[in-house]
């Protein structure tokens, strides 16, 4: 139990730090494509932490954990596609 308590605190701190990072990036007038990639990866990490430790799916059958994880992965991948695919006009 003490380990679990510590894990929750660490997860919360990581979530806050990654949110602060995203906020600071938001101050840039132009967000470079590399930074967009970093933001998307950190968003995936944040989402997965919520799924595993807040929703408590880390210790349940894999299929229940996979559904939100796949959702997160597919949504973030398609967001990346929409940002990186060249716009033809």
């Amino acid at each position: 139990m003490p380990n679990l308590k510590k894990t929750l605190e660490v997860v919360w701190i990581v979530l806050v730090v990654l949110t602060i990072f995203a906020y600071l990036v938001g101050y840039l007038k132009y967000v470079s494509t590399a930074l967009v990639a970093v933001l998307l990866i950190t968003t995936f990490i944040k989402g997965q932490l919520v799924i595993d430790y807040f929703m408590g799916l880390k210790d349940v059958r894999l299929k229940y954990r996979l559904i939100p994880t796949l959702w997160l992965g597919v949504v973030i991948s398609l967001i990346a596609v929409a940002y990186y695919l060249p716009v033809t006009s």
């Binding site: 929750l8 995203a22 967009v36 989402g47 919520v50 799924i51 807040f54 929703m55 939100p68 949504v75």
Partner: protein, 199 residues
């Protein structure tokens, strides 16, 4: 004891029905997120200019608030899971304190969002202003309603903890409400960088 641990490992926390709702909600929001990013490709300059008029600070504070409220809800769930027949009143009280903090966060989120909406609508912006604001109002408005519902659910659970309504054998409703709240948090975690930051 070992039987209970096995069950917890087999199934997600709370009623199974809530997980069907959660999966449907994730798909619905996922489609809206993709609608937003692929529409953006049609007029990137307009989306970027419109996005800059939003308050990123409000978005950041609201993200912090939701993450923290989710943390409080997990602490409340852990309190409820730790109780035994002998100490269930004490743990109901402990859980109620964590829940109250989570509800305060939920209300704070709603107040900040209302302020943001008043500012936007006060400037004459509405659903038909442009595509960016159509998606912004739809996405954040739809999410706002989920936070509102989640706060009401948490308040109902809170009231039940005040009368020591949860026991070691009966706390599934508690976990059901908590799972819904975490879904609301998960959705905002994707929504915040998408609508407020990335351009």
């Amino acid at each position: 004891m070992s039987k209970s641990i096995t069950l917890k490992e087999k199934y997600p926390p709370g009623d199974f029905a809530i997980w069907i709702i959660i999966y449907v909600e994730l798909i619905t929001f996922g489609l809206l997120f993709l609608g937003y990013v692929f529409s953006r490709r049609g007029d990137i300059e307009l989306f970027n200019a419109s996005q800059l008029s939003l308050s990123q600070t409000s978005g950041f504070i609201n993200t912090f608030i939701l993450i923290t409220s989710s943390y409080f809800v997990v602490k409340a769930v852990n309190s409820i899971k730790s109780m035994t027949q002998e100490n269930y009143k004490e743990f109901n009280t402990q859980a109620s304190k964590w829940l109250l903090l989570a509800i305060i966060c939920g209300v704070a989120f709603l107040m900040i969002k209302i302020t943001e909406f008043s500012h936007i609508f006060g400037e004459g912006i509405n659903l038909s202003t442009n595509k960016f604001f159509m998606f912004y109002i739809l996405l954040t408005g739809f999410h706002f309603m989920h936070v509102l519902l989640g706060s009401v659910i948490l308040f109902n659970i809170y009231q039940k903890t005040k009368i020591y309504g949860y026991t070691p054998d009966d706390h599934r409703g508690f976990e059901t409400g908590a799972s819904y709240w975490h879904m609301v948090d998960l959705l905002w975690i994707v929504l915040f960088p998408l609508v407020y930051i990335i351009r």
